[in-house]
Structures are given as C-alpha cells and as structure tokens.
Amino acid sequence: MKRTPSNLDALFDPRTVAVLGASRDPSKIGHLVFRYMLDSEAKLFPVNPSAGEILGHRCYPSLGSIPEDVDMAVLALPASATPQAVRECVDKGVKAIVCLASGFGETGSEGKRLEEEIKKILASALPEMRPRFLGPNTLGVYVPRRRIETIFTSRERNPRPGPGGIAFISQSGATAVCIMEAAAAVGVDFSAFVGIGNKLDVDENELLDYFAADPETSTIIMYLESFKDGRAFLESCRRIVPKKPVIVLKAGRSESGAKAAALHTGSLAGSDRVVDGALMQARVFRAYDEEELVDLARALDHGRPFTGGRVAILTTAGGMGVIAADLLESRDRGVGLKLAPLSERGRAKLRSLLLPFASANNPVDVTANASNDHYAAALEVLESEPDLDAILCVMQFQSPFVDERLMDIVTDWFHRGEKSIVVTSIGGELSQRALKNLTESGVPAYPSIWRGVRAIGALHKRGVWASANSKR
C-alpha cells in the first residue's frame, strides 16, 4: 500500500527541517528539539541570529538565509515572536509549521488576537503555497520509525515508544507523552503521535483522515476535549472504522452537565450521552481513562475480532477462573459474554491429558502443578473445539513445571490458531516480563483479569460491529 500524497506529509515525513529558536543552551526547548531531530534522516537547519554553531551545525541567521527548500519549520519561540516567524515561513515557502509555544488562545484575549493574526498571515499566502500550521500550544509530532520528533520533554526522563501500528492524536501533548511512556514500558509501540494543541489550522478530523491513509498505521487512538466539527468527525470515522479501529478518550464529560434543561431531552443529554451515542453510531470505541485507551488499542490492533461470543478460560489457578468467568458473563460488572460449554470429546481429551485433579470443564483449570506441556495440550484441545470463539489464557508462574516457554506456546497459537486469544498474568517481575514479551509479539496481554476480559469484550464488539456492517 502506498501513501497518497497529502500536504500533511511535511509534518510526518519532512526531508528538510528548520528549527527556529535553536539554542546552544541544553536546558532550552530549542536545544532539545534540535538535538532529538538530529537522529532523523531529515536535513536540519538550526536558525538563530546569535548562536553561530549548535552541536557542530552552523546556525543560520534567518529562515530566508537557508539555501534550500524547507519542508518543516519548528518554532521554538515565544508566542509574541510567532507572527513574524510565520510571515517568514510564508515567504520562504515552508510546507508545514509546528508551533510549540503556549500563550495563545488558551490564555485569553491577547492570545486569541495572536492566533487571529497568524490566521491572517497564513491566509495571505496563495492556497497551494500556504504552510500547514500545527498548534499552537502543542508538543508537535513524533514519528518513531523516522525519529522525527519535536517533543521537548526529556527523553531520558520520559522514554518514547518504539515504532508500531498505533497512531495517537491528542489534544493534550503532555498527557499523550505520559500515556505513551507508560505504554512503551509494557511493550506497546506507536506509528505516530501528533498533538493538535489549539487546532488553529490542522485539526483532529484531518489527521484522522491522514492516518486512515497511512500504511504504517493500523489503529487510531485519540484524546479529545472538544470536537471541532462533530459531524465531519463521525463521517470520517464511518469510512475508516471498517478498516482501522478508532478509539476515543473524550474528556470533559461533566462540562455539559450544566446544560439547559427545559425539556427532558435536554436534561438527559446532560452528562454527554450524545457523545456516547454518536460514537457508538459511528462504531468508534470510547475509552474512559488512559489505561482503557491503550488497553483497547492493543487488543484491537493485533487481536482477532470474533462474533460468536462463546469464550473459554484456561487457567492455572481455580479462583482466577471463577473471577474471570464472573467478569465475562456479568452484564453490569463485566462484558456480558458466555462461557462456552465444551464438547464431550474435548472434555474427554482434557481428562486424559491433564492432571487427575484438573478441571476439564470451562473454566479449564490445569492447576498450579501443571507443566508447560499440560498448558499446551489444553490449549490445543480448546483450539479444536467447534463451538468456541475466544480463549482467555490466565497464566501464572506458580508451578515449578512452567516457565517462560509458556509464552512461545501461546504466541504460536495466537498466530496460527483460529480462536481469538487474550492473556492475563498477575504478579511481579516474572509476570511483567512475560506480558511484555507477549505484547511485543503482538499478543494482547494484561496484568489484571478485568483488563483481559475487557479486551475480549472489545474484540467481540468489533467482530459484531463488522459483521452487522457487512450485512447492511
């Protein structure tokens, strides 16, 4: 699949980058951004009238003095200096501007005025020459595959994720960077991050369409506090969702609680039920916190959607099987799916293969004395069950006869089997290492039973939505 050219390409795949406000001072944003961007393939031009040289690179006194075309200009400048810089970008024919500064519309009327001024300057350029403007008040972009990065928080303090399939569009940069850091720590990777900031020009809808067409992106997640154009957003989602899952964390839910309430409909729309309904109508997943946002992304990015709703639990600990069963089946405190009864043949096989005190019914409990082989044998039996869609592998490392090879067994079935598989393991270092390995091999794996069950629920929902959609 080839990327169709877009005028946003200069934001995510620039060949030449100018950093305005590049600095020799390591504590300055203009230094960090320049230093991080050096890792990319892009050709870099630090711009600073008084710096001379930065990290061995000759500084240019102005954007105009750069002898080449500039794809992307990163503005590491104060808000007040921004209009002039944008004017220079227009004159230079820059394709995309990333404006990192705060102090615009989010702070009050003076900031709003600055934004209006910038809009006018951009509008003064011929449409086909007009730079695209990201921000202001944004951490900009991060493209792990190309090491394109304008995030100006310390990499040492906030390690970044590696290259993967999840694109993250966020209205809050700092929040997204923290979420990505936490995700990276457990092995979740990203195709791109983009902070939309004050959405002066580039907004979430356009980026959604961009990542829909991006061959490196397979799942799109968003953190939003407001919709710039809700209708257009839903239209885009409807087009995209059959191909790539979209998951939205829409915060600021209580804001509308103060809405007028002359009639029932208005009063009931209060706690953002319209958002709820509209997202469901467009088959967009809604997450309610940062953990769910990434959890669902991991499940939907790699996991196998299913329609039947018949689930088996394979556990090394009886109690965990019971907890998982409750969460799977409960409508109020769970995902409302069904534990599948196993076939007579399957149960006979399990009885012959497992330890005498193991359970050959669903939940299948191989017991805490089981070996890798027992677990593998049980998984194989479940994989050949005719009336089964998904398997929740509850995996603990208590038995002296299991070790990390269990991971390979499950990963192998995940890729070559026909059932949807999700893994949970609760515990310390060993569990966490196992989960990270699984995650890096693409298996949805979670450190709690509930999070695993929720992932199963999401894969089922996606399956049902997809099949209803194809029937329409």
Binding site: S226, F227, G230, R231, L234, S256, A258, K259, A260, A261, A262, L263, H264, T265, G266, S267, L268, A269, R273, V274, V275, D276, G277, A278, M280, Q281, A468, R472
Partner: protein, 224 residues
C-alpha cells in the same frame, strides 16, 4: 444556561402545533380538536373518554398549573372542563383529544447538540423518565437498524420483548423514531429540543400523547 434563559431564547410552540408538525412526518398522535375562541362543536368527531388540555406556547408544563383534565367521559363533563379552562386560562387555545389507553411509555426526543448537531433520543418515558434516565442518543438521520439497536440498549428493552405478557411493538416504535429522525434531518437546525413524552406503545401501534418543542433562536450557535 438556566431554564428560564432558555425559554427566553428559544421560542416554544403550542402542543397542537407540535402535534400537527410531528404528525405530518408520520408520528401517530391521538385524534384531536382545537378550540381557539369558539365554542364546542355539537358532536366530537371521536369517542369518549377524552382529555382536555390547555395548548399554548407560554405554558410548557401544563399539568403543574392545572392545564390538563383527564378521563372526561361525557358531554356534561366536557362542557364543565372546557369552561373551567376558559376561566383559568382566558384567551388560550383548548385542545380536546382522545384519551389513549395505558401502555408501555417511551420518550422520543430531538436535541440540537453543539458538537454533533441534530440528535435523536430514545428512552423509557412517562413521569419517571428523569428518575431512571434510561436513554440513548444518536445523531440524525438514523436508519432502521440504528433504531432497533437503540431499543436494545435500553434497560427497559424487556418491556418490548414480552415481559409478563406485555405487548409493545418494536416496529411501531421504530417507525415513529424514523419519523422523528426525518423531522430532525429536515428541520433539526431550527429545533432546540423536542420531547414526545410519553409515546405510548401498544401491541400493534404507538401514539405520541404529549409533545413539546422549543425552536432555536435564529442564528444561534449555542446548544439548547
């Protein structure tokens, strides 16, 4: 925004105007008669029992002010009820309509949402609507499968599925929802909020027995 400000900014319609409007889109309403300032006709064009209501843009919540008389069984009671209304609400239109039997009560509404534009609501209706808050929203237009999905998402869905031998037709409700959706699609930009509550659902039909509508102020970008 306070309810009062909302009323000042959004013009309400009288109940009979709303009913005429939703009926023209295909929402069934009870057979009715409007008395502007004239007297009662010699014969009602529909059978007793009937309901007498005040129908005026200024009186949104009629029962709270004694603007509704139920269970009127004959001519004498009707004459008394109408003359009381005339006394209590001089100069206002009076609505006389067939009193529909009890049934499963739903609410179907429209709202202009600031982010998503005209949106439709379905919920379990009646006087406990806001107590149970059993509702779901969609942007308009909706299609038939959206409408069925909305019903399936209500906690009260069992009332449409034969619970205790109650018979309430999903398809009748769906066709009313689709009618409201068409209204929202065509005129939603002008409507701040609409409540059809209750829409009483029976075995083979449904009927909107009360209807309220607030117009959006012209040029308003505010959410209702």
């Amino acid at each position: 925004m306070k309810a009062k400000d909302l009323l000042l900014s959004c013009m309400p319609l009288a109940e009979h105007q709303v009913k005429e409007l939703v009926q023209s889109y295909g929402v069934p309403v009870p057979r009715y008669l409007v008395l502007e300032d004239g007297g009662l006709p010699r014969r009602l064009p529909f059978p007793y029992p009937v309901v007498v209501k005040i129908s005026d843009p200024q009186i949104l919540h009629k029962s709270e002010v004694g603007g509704v008389r139920l269970d009127i069984k004959n001519r004498a009671q009707l004459e008394r009820a109408v003359s009381r209304m005339r006394q209590d609400f001089p100069g206002k239109a009076v609505l006389i309509e067939v009193q529909e039997p009890l049934g499963v009560e739903a609410i179907v509404g429209l709202i202009y949402d600031s982010a998503f534009g005209p949106s439709i609501m379905l919920g379990m209706g009646g006087i406990l609507t806001e107590v149970y808050q059993d509702t779901t929203f969609r942007t308009v237009p909706i299609d038939e499968s959206d409408a069925y999905e909305m019903i399936s998402l209500l906690r009260g869905v069992r009332l449409f599925e034969g619970f205790r031998n109650i018979r309430a037709s999903k398809s009748a409700l769906v066709s009313a929802m689709l009618a409201v959706s068409r209204l929202g699609e065509e005129l939603g930009e002008h409507i701040a909020q609409t409540d059809l509550n209750p829409v009483i659902v029976y075995e083979d039909r449904c009927v909107a027995v009360d209807a309220k509508l607030l117009l959006r102020k012209r040029g308003s970008t505010e959410q209702a």
